[in-house]
Amino acid sequence: MTNTTNTRVPAARTPARTAAPAPAAVRPGLRERGARWMAALFLVPTVIGIVAFTVVPIAGSVVLSLFHWNVIDPPRFAGASNYGEVFGDRTVLVSFRNTLVFMVLAVALQLVIALVLAITVDGRMPVWLRSAFRSAFFFPLVLSAASISVVMKYLFNQDFGVVNWLLGLVGIAPVPWLTSEHAAMAAVVLVYVWQQFGFSFLLFVGGLNNIPKEVHEAAALDGATGLRKHLSVTLPLLSPTLLVASVVGIINALQVFEQPYVLTDGGPGDSTRTVVMVIYETAFEQLRFGEASAVGVLLFVLIMAVTALQFRLSRRFVHYQ
């Protein structure tokens, strides 16, 4: 048997309890218990919200993944057969591959662009210009992804788009941005990153502001300038922010939907079909809600696993001041 610790006992009192196990001595006072009840009361709305809108839907998805359901007829218990269908479906497997490829490309590009721009904006420049840059980079994030994608679809059109027209001015042949397998993924990544990097940018700007100036001055005295300074000083001290940005970025990227749905409809072929697109199509177009839920559960597991891996790796690479 293990020796379980009463977690309600404040840490400061724990030694006393180990020295003389007298429960009466560690019981919280009336005032302290009242404070705890008050804290619990404040937490109740949030807990209800999380249970109603997060826990219950997740549990519902897991349960639904064990049924065949087409909305019209009552659900029929299917056991694990939906999972068997999903693993045998080439489109689902390709969508997971596409989503992972998209995640790696989009998050890497997003973080690099955001970091470079944040360091640049953090340099010497007038305050008004810095504010202007911050607003400009953040602005796409508040726009609707679907609206942006509709506009981008016009811009990236192979025959009539502005992007190819501009490339043509410098002698580059038209690129089939949305109709070639490789170019289509690149186009989707570019549109996504253009919209999303503003969030990471703001995080990095905040992180850079928290790095004490003395550290940079000390590094400069030691002869570290330019790229060396950023690699040896800025990046390690920014690593907690990098962790947050990458965790949020990866979770968002694994759930990408609007951009490929509007820009390419998952094509050509399945080359830009993502997991969430497959969930939508399977459920709402093909009326196979059980299978769609099974794919959703697998995506949930994947996101949890990737996030857990990130936190595990962070122990090695993240430095807290």
Binding site: M1, T2, N3, T4, P21, P23, N70, V71, I72, V150, K153, Y154, N157, Q158, D159, F160, W165, G168, P176, L178, T179, S180, E181, T264, D265, G266, G267, P268, G269, D270, R273, E281, F284, E285, Q286, L287
Partner: protein, 469 residues
């Protein structure tokens, strides 16, 4: 033993928590499922009619409701205009409403969803049609039997068609003049079509694309399949339907009609299907047409009206669209789709489907009947945003302001070519369409991709058609 044992007081407390949780869960489980209809004010007893948001103009809807109210003051009607980018998106949203317990009574359904609704959600109109046969005789006399047959499923009628659109070829007359080409004959062939594209290409700059098409079920690859005497799925006719043909159509016009279309065995690897894809791949390779782009052709009106595209397949709905885009009536014209092995063309139609869940089916039938009347359709279709299913509504006056000069083509696609039929839309249509679109994109990515893509399309179509709905 260690102090991991819970004290009696804690045990009682946790027991109470558990009992409370079990009570809440039990109460929730035993409660009747709440649906959207339980929201106060949501279910006001109106007859709810769901339409694709962009199908009718606000003025048209107002006129529709006002007219019905005068005729049936006792029936309250509410139109639920569902915003969607295409029919597939629209059906997805309707199904969401059904799942939420707020199913409409009537849904405006196009060919893409006729059999899906008929099989799973719809009510056959046979009883009402037989009952009100005298009243409906004038309607059927005015509507081509092929449109009616496209609304039948396994011998029963599920909708009265009120509009349709066949894939004809729109030509920009300015581009024709620039190329020194005349307006094509009604009997033009695929080779004439190719020659015209080449001529247009030669007479224009590098930013010009002679032929633009959208990768979708209606108006994409399918018209070419029909022209080449084949189809994506083997097409046949269900038995039955005599009750309707005998009652409303003379012998000459009902000949060969059955109980609705059946689309069954996939035939993507059929030689003629391969020929079609090879032909389209050659057009792409020679820069005569765009690569297949997904979507609903939103940017097509812009590039066509500005002369950056020469020809494109579209239906009567485009006459109004091009007029609104600022094109003069003589700026464009329309001709039949070119002939290949056959001169069979494709269309899609639409009408109101009654849902099984409706508790006001008699009222719903009155609305269906009312919506198919000539005066109703005249009020509804004022801007040439579609082709009315009633032949008598297509006249020179209707197209004087918008064009095109050859407006007769729209209905003659049915009258002059009786074999013209609906796009293949079995109950598994959503998956069939998705498979078609994705493998068409791959097939036309490069000339050598056609056969492998069609083999994969065949496999995917077979799986889709075998799937239990």
């Amino acid at each position: 033993m260690t102090d991991s044992l819970l004290p009696r007081r804690s045990l009682l407390r946790y027991g109470a928590y558990g009992a409370a949780a079990a009570a809440v869960a039990g109460t929730a489980a035993s409660w009747d499922r709440l649906t959207g209809a339980d929201i106060p004010g949501r279910d006001d007893g109106s007859l709810v009619v769901a339409t694709l948001g962009s199908a009718f103009s606000p003025d048209g809807v107002r006129a529709l409701l006002d007219g019905f109210r005068k005729l049936h003051p006792d029936i309250k009607v509410r139109v639920n205009a569902v915003q969607a980018v295409d029919w597939s998106d629209f059906f997805a949203k309707i199904l969401t409403q059904i799942a939420a317990g707020t199913a409409p009574d009537l849904v405006y359904v196009a060919t893409e969803g006729v059999q899906l609704f008929a099989r799973r959600l719809g009510v056959a109109l046979d009883t009402w049609v037989k009952r009100d046969a005298a009243e409906l005789r004038e309607y059927f006399a005015d509507v081509h039997p092929s449109l009616v047959e496209s609304m039948m499923y396994e011998g029963s009628l599920y909708q009265l068609p009120i509009e349709f659109n066949a894939a004809d070829i729109y030509l920009n007359t300015q581009v024709l003049r620039r190329a020194g080409a005349g307006f094509p004959d009604a009997d033009w062939t695929r080779d004439d079509f190719t020659a015209l594209l080449r001529r247009m290409k030669r007479a224009s700059d590098s930013h010009f694309t002679p032929y633009f098409w959208t990768n979708r079920l209606w108006g994409g690859v399918v018209p070419w399949l029909f022209a080449n005497g084949t189809n994506l799925l083997a097409e046949s006719r269900a038995p039955g339907g005599d009750w309707l043909w005998d009652a409303f159509y003379p012998a000459g016009r009902r000949q060969g009609r059955g109980g609705g279309f059946r689309w069954t065995t996939p035939q993507a690897t059929d030689d003629r299907v391969e020929e079609v894809y090879d032909y389209l791949a050659s057009l792409v390779r020679d820069g005569l047409c765009t690569r297949p782009e997904g979507g609903n052709g939103q940017n097509l009106i812009g590039v066509f009206s500005t002369g950056r595209v020469g020809v494109t397949p579209a239906g009567g709905f485009w006459a109004g669209g091009l007029h609104l885009a600022g094109m003069r009536p003589d700026g464009f014209d329309v001709q039949y789709f070119p002939r290949w092995r056959t001169h069979r063309m494709q269309y899609g139609a639409a009408g109101y489907a009654m849902l099984r869940t409706s508790r006001q089916q008699d009222a719903a039938w009155e609305f269906i009947k009312y919506s198919a009347r000539r005066d109703t359709l005249t009020r509804l279709f004022t801007t040439n945003q579609t082709t009315p299913a009633r032949r008598s509504m297509l006249d020179a006056g209707r197209y004087r302001e918008t064009g095109p000069a050859h407006w007769r083509v729209f209905y003659d696609t049915l009258d002059a070519f009786p074999g013209t039929g609906p796009i293949p839309a079995p109950p598994q249509v959503a998956e069939v369409e998705q498979v078609l679109l994705k493998h068409t994109g791959t097939a036309l990515a490069s000339p050598r991709a056609v056969r492998p893509a069609l083999r994969r399309m065949q496999g995917d179509l077979e799986r889709a058609m075998e799937r239990e709905l």
